[in-house]
């Protein structure tokens, strides 16, 4: 690697192990740590004097000093809680612990390359929620990185696996089973472009679950041998058992090759005041029996993903396995049996994410080598901005330039480029009146292409430009990553104003006009308008997860804002799904951008226990009803919920033992079960719901047939077919999602009716007794009718919209919807 070549840094900040790789435009290199390993254990220890050790040196203390040695903190990123280090009487956030790992990796890069890298790409699970992404970026900042981009781990893996295979095409499944998270991604390669079709996963499924299952089995064995009750719900047992976990993990890894291994803890197992001998042999058959249900869960996620993407079974071209646990023969066998597709061999599943992240840094031109970024300009050179793709799958990409200074003394009138290997040069292209030029360059395949840029003045003389060179790497490029979960703003009636549907390409920005629910008076530092931002696929806001809140305080506004005032809300997501938001209130002329970034919700075990009990009660009621109706479909679905609740009870026991990670997992599981039970409750009213849906379809079809275009009628036909297919699944949420297109098309036709707004005016006029200002509502109705009489359609529409703003949202709904101040 020469001192002139670029340096792109990619990091896999893993739950169990972390890795860092660099890419110089030609080759990807893993950076070794001082112990000579490609992998740095994600373990941090802080001793009584406050000394921090990380990696393999810290991991040695997991058994002898578990209280002051922490691992798997990635699973707690974005949560409020800190982790105690009793010896130093300190508490560290998961971000601070991750920063310690990142700092160590950054030091390794400096040792290996001499570059103090401030720019890097870090992999994150595709299903990380916004607070978790934000926490990762914060950890990087704490570690001294000045700019960090995040990439979804499965995308990074696929990029690394497919980098030298740009001719391949077809669909891939990336099965990424990490220490603590599971991601499944369906990707497609075509013409050198790698595109994420969809992904799914489980933020709380990983190799750690294998170890927990084996640990529970081991504790049961020891209980029997020694005649004591060893339950992880007992905090003392839970603490002592952490010391056994390293031995369990080592035994499991050893069993990927062997068939029987003894479990050998490095230190005596002392619990409940007794030292208990651990004389247990673990065999592969036992491990496979314990781990099969966990692998089956991951495969169920993959099947759901493939089915949802409409890919026919057998059309999968290949499967990429990522993550340490995938070296287990059981995992490889079950995945191969489940999908009739070859597993990509010859790639190291432990380091793919770091390699892919480094390659992605190249596509972003995130060069960490400072000298490369600021080549000195010579006097007289004409400054120019060059927009060339850092990486291109296209062998003849476009390069666009613009003169940076229009007033230069010798303004070039044309430019041309030469490839530095002498194999190609462009024809001359003119510089246009706005100072820009556009030209096509030709790349040598599968290499880094350097180009020299030169101008020509009107008198025919040559003009030097700065920068005088640029480079383009020919390789696989990736399409914009899709958003993994829908994001919107919770409104006061418990609905969600969807800003970004799941799957939209990132980055993205969108603005919607909303209106305040109630009159707001200035003064005080309390929050007077709250705009909750939620993430999830549900139409009801309270079922989605709050991930941020835009808040306007009383002392930030100068005058009273009446109910119905306009608020323009803009949400923006960057490429890694990090959120910024702002609200513009035209009446005040001010823009507010303070977002309270929420952490993942609190998870006290007693609250979770109450939540679990409530779900059990609701489930019992539903089961009685389903049996009475002999509804076998519903009985089956409720059986799934019942099994999940039973598993959740195991996590509750671990949560009570002080396992914060189990608490977070339980919180998520219960939220999902809450939604599933809600769906079943809604299904009880299925006949009415289905009838309403059919009425809505009939209305849309009627409007489309009388006022729609041919294209709209064709599209409606497709949309109705999709709804009918969803009706067969009896899923309220699925029907509601598909009905959006039907309603849109029906409305498009409806609003071609010349009296559409007049009909809506009369409907709203019938509700004015419920308006927040009845006198004002009556005045608006009178104005609207006058406008109608004079044929002023815009006036009628304005009246209807003003009336809607005065009608109240459902009070009960507002209490559930995170106190949204908008409608």
């Amino acid at each position: 690697m020469s001192g002139d070549s670029p340096l792109y840094v990619g990091i896999d900040l893993g739950t169990t192990n972390s890795a860092v790789a660099t890419f110089d435009g030609d080759a990807c290199t893993l950076v070794r740590n001082p112990a000579g390993s490609d992998l740095t254990p994600s373990v941090v220890r802080i001793d009584a004097r406050g000394n921090v050790t990380v990696g393999a040196r810290a991991r040695r203390y997991l058994e002898s000093d578990p209280a002051n040695t922490r691992t798997e903190f990635k699973r707690l990123m974005g949560t409020a809680g800190g982790l105690p280090f009793p010896a130093s009487a300190g508490i560290k956030t998961p971000e601070a612990l991750s920063a310690a790992i990142l700092e160590s990796l950054r030091t390794d890069v400096r040792e290996a390359t001499g570059v103090d890298a401030g720019l890097a790409v870090i992999g994150v699970p595709a299903l990380f929620e916004l607070p978790q992404n934000r926490a990762t970026a914060e950890a990087a900042r704490l570690a001294g990185f000045t700019r960090v981009e995040l990439i979804q781990e499965p995308v990074a893996s696929a990029l690394a696996a497919g980098w030298h295979d740009s001719d391949a095409s077809g669909s891939w499944l990336v099965y990424d089973l990490g220490g603590g998270t599971f991601d499944a991604s369906l990707l497609e390669t075509r013409d050198g472009l790698l595109r994420v079709v969809a992904h799914d996963g489980d933020n709380f499924l990983g190799g750690r679950d294998f170890d927990n299952a084996i640990l529970d089995w081991l504790l049961a064995q020891l209980s029997r041998h020694h005649g004591v009750a060893l339950e992880r719900s007992d905090p003392e047992v839970a603490s002592a058992a952490r010391g056994l976990k390293v031995a369990v993990e080592d035994a499991r890894i050893e069993l990927t090759r062997g068939v029987r291994v003894p479990i050998n803890p490095a230190h005596p197992f002392v619990v409940l005041g007794r030292e208990l001998g651990v004389d247990v042999v673990l065999d592969r058959e036992t491990v496979e029996g314990l781990c099969t249900p966990i692998v089956a869960r991951s495969i169920a996620v993959c099947r759901r993903l493939v089915a949802a993407s409409g890919l026919e079974p057998g059309r999968l071209q290949r499967v990429v396995l990522v993550g340490g646990p995938t070296v287990m023969p059981l995992v490889r066998r079950m995945v191969r049996d489940a999908f009739d597709a070859p597993i990509v061999e010859g790639v190291d599943p432990m380091t793919l994410v770091a390699r892919g992240a480094a390659l992605f840094a190249a596509t972003l031109d995130l060069n960490a080598r400072p000298a490369h970024r600021s080549a000195p300009a010579r006097t007289g050179d004409v400054p120019v901005w060059v927009y060339a793709p850092a990486v291109s799958a296209d062998l003849t990409p476009f390069v666009v330039g613009r003169l940076a200074d229009a007033e230069v003394s010798r303004r070039p009138v044309a430019v041309h480029v030469r490839r530095s290997d002498g194999g190609w040069s462009s024809p001359e292209v003119p510089i246009e009146s706005d100072g820009t030029f556009t030209l096509e360059v030709k790349l040598a395949p599968r290499s880094t292409n350097m180009f020299a840029l030169e101008g020509r003045a009107a008198d025919g003389s040559s003009v030097s430009m700065t920068p005088g060179t640029f480079s383009i790497i020919h390789g696989v490029t990736i399409g914009d990553p899709p958003l993994s979960r829908t994001i919107g703003v919770a409104l006061a009636d418990d609905s969600v104003r969807t800003f970004f549907e799941r799957g939209v390409p990132l980055p993205t920005t969108r603005t919607f006009v909303q209106h305040t629910v109630s009159t707001v008076v200035p003064g005080g530092d309390g929050v007077v308008i709250k705009i909750p931002i939620v993430q999830g696929e549900f139409g009801a806001a309270h079922l989605c997860r709050p991930v941020g809140s835009l808040e306007i305080r009383g002392n930030e506004i100068q005058a009273t804002l009446p109910a119905g005032s306009t608020v323009e809300v803009t949400l923006a997501l960057d490429r890694a799904g990090q959120l910024t938001a702002r609200a513009h209130v035209p009446q005040t002329g001010r823009t507010f951008g303070h977002v309270e970034h929420l952490v993942l919700p609190d998870t006290r075990p007693d609250a979770l226990e109450g939540f679990l009990k409530g779900l059990r009660d609701r489930l019992a009621g539903l089961q009685v009803s389903a049996f009475a109706r002999r509804d076998t479909n519903s009985i089956g679905r409720l059986g799934d919920v019942e099994r999940s609740l039973a598993e959740a009870a195991g996590d509750l026991a671990a949560a009570k033992g002080g396992d914060e990670d189990a608490s977070q997992k339980l919180r998520r599981t219960l939220s999902e079960l809450d939604a599933m039970i809600g769906e079943e409750e809604a299904a009880l009213n299925w006949p009415e719901f289905a009838a309403e849906t059919r009425d809505s379809i009939a209305a849309a079809a009627s409007w489309a047939s009388s006022r729609g275009t041919d294209a709209e009628r064709r599209l409606l036909h497709e949309a109705v077919a999709a709804v009918r297919s969803a009706l067969e699944t009896r899923s309220v949420e699925s029907v509601n999602r598909r009905m959006r297109a039907v309603i849109q098309l029906g409305n498009a036709a409806y609003f071609r009716h010349p009296r559409a707004w007049a009909m809506l005016l009369e409907r709203a006029a019938g509700e004015i007794a419920r308006a927040s200002d009845v006198a004002e509502a009556k005045r608006i109705v009178a104005n609207g009718r006058a406008a109608d009489n004079s044929g002023d359609v815009d006036g009628v529409r304005a009246a209807v919209q003003a009336l809607w703003r005065l009608l109240p949202p459902d009070v009960e709904a507002n209490s559930q919807t995170y106190d949204s101040g908008l409608r």
Partner: protein
Amino acid sequence: MSDVRSGALARLLTNPFTVLGLPPTASPAEIERQGQKLLAQLAAGKEAAAPYSSPVGLGQRTPDLVRWSIDQLRDPKRRFVHELWAGLPSR
């Protein structure tokens, strides 16, 4: 409902083929190339790259709109729907 109506107009104004200035028969490679070219021109501030004409009037290209258009046409199912809309006669 007014949002929905503007959504119908938007179907025509922001049809990805219209935004990219390509016919509905454009190949995937042509779509990628045209998208890359427009994004670079917009980043460079090339004035002529922003305006485009549609059946319902002039539109303004933004980087977000161009990237969204490319993404829409990468998916065969979504592309099919946009081909239908792009084939509508001007009203």
